[in-house]
C-alpha cells in the first residue's frame, strides 16, 4: 500500500504530464488506479466503521449526543450484566446446536443428491429455495407456523392425538430456543448441502471403485475415502455457516425479538436493542465488539482449513 502511494507521488512530481496517463504506465500505478473505487468504498464504509465501532465501545455515546471517552466502563457494566451473559450463552447454544444439525442434515442431503437420481437438477434447484428467499419473509412464514393458537404443527399433532392442547412455541423459553434453532437449520441446510455436493462431485469415481474392489463396505468407503477428501471443504463451509449463525439477527428479530424473558436474545439482537431503540450507542457497540474474538477464532479456523486444502492439492500458489 505505502509503496504504491510513494510511487504515485514520485510519478506526479516528476513531470507535468497528466497524472492519469503517467499512472497507467507503471504496473503499480495502474494497479492503484484500478483498486481505487473498491478501496474507497471499503475504507469509508468498512474499515473506518470497524475502527469507529471499537472506539464507540469506549465512549458513552447515545443517540443525539456525542459521548466522551469512559475507558472500559461499558465492558465493566456488561461484565456484571446477567442479560449480557445470558445472550452470550444463547449465542453459543444457538450456534453450536444449529451448526451441528446443519452439518449432519446437510451432509446427508448432499450424499443423497450425489446418487444417480432422475430430475437431479430440478431437486437441486428446489432445495436451494429456502436460502434464496429473503430471511425475514420466510421467518414470517415460520412465525405463522409457530403461532400459539393456530399453529399448523400443533393442529396436526392434535389431530393425531399426540398432544392435548396447542404447543406454546414462542412463549416458553426452551420451546422458543428450539423453534428459532429449527427455523435457522431449515434455512441453513440448503447452503451446506449444495456446497458439500459440489465438493462430493470433485471426488473421482475411480477412488470409490478401487476401494470397492479392495472390499470396502459402503460405510468404509464413506469413512475412509469420501470424508477425508471432503474435510477441507467441510472446514470452509462450516466456518461460513458458524460465522453467519453466530452473527444472526433477522430470524430472532422477526420471531421473538429476544423474548420470552430474554431467553432467545443473541449478542447481535441485544446489541441492536440497546443501541437503536434503547439509544445507548456506546453500550451496543461494546456488545458488538465482544463478538469479534469469536469471529476471529472462526476466521483463523477457516484460514488453516484453506491452507490445508492448498497443501493437499499440491498447488504452489
Amino acid at each position: 500500500m505505502s509503496t504504491t502511494i510513494e510511487n504515485r507521488r514520485r510519478v506526479a512530481a516528476r513531470s507535468g504530464t497528466p497524472i492519469l496517463s503517467r499512472l497507467s504506465e507503471s504496473r503499480n500505478g495502474l494497479g492503484l488506479l484500478f483498486m481505487l473505487p473498491a478501496a474507497v468504498f471499503l475504507l469509508c464504509f468498512l474499515t473506518y466503521p470497524l475502527g469507529l465501532g471499537i472506539w464507540l465501545g469506549f465512549t458513552d455515546t447515545s443517540i443525539g449526543r456525542s459521548g466522551i471517552f469512559i475507558g472500559l466502563e461499558n465492558y465493566e457494566w456488561l461484565w456484571h450484566d446477567s442479560v449480557f451473559w445470558l445472550s452470550v450463552f444463547n449465542t453459543l447454544l444457538y450456534t453450536s446446536v444449529a451448526s451441528v444439525l446443519k452439518f449432519i442434515l446437510g451432509l446427508w442431503l448432499a450424499l443423497i443428491l450425489n446418487e444417480h437420481l432422475p430430475f437431479k437438477n430440478l431437486f437441486r434447484a428446489i432445495i436451494l429455495l429456502p436460502w434464496v428467499v429473503p430471511t425475514v419473509l420466510s421467518a414470517l412464514a415460520f412465525w405463522w407456523i409457530f403461532d400459539s393458537q393456530f399453529s399448523i404443527i400443533s393442529w396436526v399433532l392434535m389431530e393425531w392425538g399426540l398432544i392435548e392442547r396447542p404447543i406454546n412455541f414462542l412463549g416458553d423459553p426452551n420451546n422458543a430456543r428450539a423453534s428459532v434453532i429449527a427455523a435457522n437449520v431449515w434455512r441453513g441446510i440448503p447452503f451446506v448441502a449444495i456446497c458439500l455436493l459440489a465438493g462430493l462431485q470433485t471426488i473421482p469415481q475411480s477412488l470409490h471403485e478401487a476401494a470397492a474392489l479392495d472390499g470396502a463396505s459402503s460405510w468404509q468407503r464413506f469413512r475412509y475415502v469420501t470424508l477425508p477428501l471432503l474435510t477441507p471443504i467441510i472446514a470452509v463451509v462450516m466456518t461460513f455457516s458458524v460465522l453467519f449463525t453466530f452473527t444472526d439477527f433477522q430470524l430472532i428479530y422477526v420471531l421473538t425479538r429476544g423474548g420470552p424473558v430474554n431467553a432467545t436474545h443473541l449478542m447481535a439482537t441485544l446489541s441492536f436493542q440497546r443501541a437503536i431503540p434503547g439509544g445507548q450507542l456506546g453500550e451496543g457497540a461494546a456488545i458488538a465488539v465482544a463478538m469479534i474474538p469469536f469471529l476471529l477464532g472462526a476466521i483463523l479456523f477457516s484460514f488453516f482449513g484453506l491452507q490445508r486444502r492448498k497443501w493437499q492439492q499440491g498447488s504452489a500458489d
Partner: protein, 298 residues
C-alpha cells in the same frame, strides 16, 4: 482385520447379487424416502405462505369447518389490500432501486479490483486479495451501529442513498473474490498476444477479459442482487419513514400492528416480496449455484 474384510466383501457381493426388485426397495428406503422428507420440510413453509395468502379471512383460523391444508373459494382480497391500501408498491420500488444501483456499483468496482489483483499484479496484490477475503467475513451485525452514526453525520439518514452506499460493503468483497476466480481461469496468452498487438490495458479488459468472463459477471450480479434484496439490518436501522422502507422492513414494521395479526396480508406480502428473487433465481440456477459454491471453493 482380514476376517472383517472378507466378511464385508461377501456382504457387498451379496448385495450386488440380489435381484433388481430388492435393490429398488433398498434405494427407496435409503434414498427416495429421506429425499421426500427433506423436500417436504424445505418446501412446506412456502406452501403454507401461499395458501394463507389466498385464504378468505373466515377460513384462516377456522380449522373445524375447513381443512387448513386446502382453500375453498380462494380470494385475492389480501393481495388487493396490500397493493392498493398500503405502501407496499412503494417498498417494492425502493427495494428494486436500491438493489439495482448497489449491484451495479459493486460490480463495477469489483471488476477493476479483481482484474488489478489477478492480472496487473501490482506489488502487494496478494495481500490485498487476502484483505478482500477478510472484508467478506466482517458481518453487518457488528458494523450497523458505527455505520448508523456515520450515515447520520453525513446527513443521508432515512434516504435510499444510505442503503445504496452501504450495501457495497458486503457486496464488493464477495464479487471481487468471485471474479478473481473467473479472471484466473482466462489464459494469460490471450492477454499477451493482445499486448503484443499494441492493445492498452483498458482495451484488454473491455475487449478480451470481460467478454470471456460474462458467466462470472452474471453469477456475481445475480448473487449481489439477491443479497441486497434480502438485506435487513441496515435497512431497519437507517430508514425510519414509511415511504423509504424496503420490502422486508416494511412488511415487518408496518403490516404487523397490535395483537391482531392479519396473516393473510402478511403472507401475501412475504410471497410477493420473495417472487422477484425466486423468478430471477429460477432463470439462472446454475449461475447462482456456481457463485455460491465458487465463493467457498476458491
Amino acid at each position: 482385520m482380514t476376517d472383517q474384510a472378507i466378511a464385508t466383501k461377501t456382504a457387498t457381493d451379496d448385495i450386488a447379487g440380489l435381484d433388481q426388485h430388492d435393490t429398488l426397495m433398498r434405494r427407496l428406503v435409503v434414498i427416495y424416502l429421506p429425499l421426500f422428507v427433506f423436500v417436504f420440510v424445505l418446501l412446506f413453509p412456502f406452501y403454507w405462505m401461499a395458501i394463507t395468502a389466498i385464504k378468505p379471512n373466515h377460513q384462516l383460523t377456522n380449522y373445524q369447518d375447513y381443512s387448513p391444508f386446502w382453500v375453498i373459494r380462494p380470494t385475492l382480497e389480501h393481495i388487493r389490500y396490500l397493493l392498493f391500501d398500503t405502501s407496499y408498491p412503494g417498498w417494492l420500488w425502493n427495494t428494486m432501486i436500491v438493489s439495482i444501483f448497489s449491484t451495479i456499483i459493486s460490480l463495477a468496482a469489483s471488476i477493476f479490483a479483481a482484474y488489478a489483483i489477478e492480472r496487473i499484479r501490482f506489488s502487494g496484490a496478494r495481500v490485498t486479495g487476502m484483505m478482500i477475503f477478510l472484508a467478506y467475513l466482517v458481518p453487518p451485525s457488528i458494523l450497523f451501529i458505527p455505520l448508523a452514526f456515520i450515515v447520520f453525520q453525513v446527513g443521508i439518514y432515512d434516504t435510499r442513498l444510505a442503503l445504496i452506499l452501504t450495501y457495497p460493503t458486503f457486496l464488493i468483497p464477495f464479487c471481487t473474490w468471485l471474479l478473481m476466480g473467473y479472471f484466473r481461469s482466462i489464459p494469460f496468452e490471450l492477454e499477451e498476444s493482445a499486448l503484443v498487438d499494441g492493445a492498452t490495458r483498458w482495451q484488454i479488459l473491455t475487449k478480451i477479459v470481460l467478454p470471456l468472463a460474462v458467466p462470472g459477471l452474471i453469477s456475481a450480479g445475480i448473487f449481489a442482487f439477491t443479497l441486497s434484496w434480502n438485506e435487513f439490518i441496515y435497512a431497519l436501522t437507517f430508514i425510519s419513514s414509511s415511504e423509504n422502507k424496503t420490502v422486508p422492513v416494511g412488511v415487518l414494521t408496518e403490516l404487523v400492528r397490535g395483537d391482531v395479526y392479519e396473516w393473510g396480508a402478511l403472507m401475501s406480502g412475504a410471497l410477493i416480496g420473495s417472487l422477484p428473487v425466486v423468478i430471477l433465481y429460477s432463470f439462472f440456477v446454475d449461475y447462482y449455484v456456481s457463485s455460491m459454491t465458487g465463493a467457498v471453493k476458491e
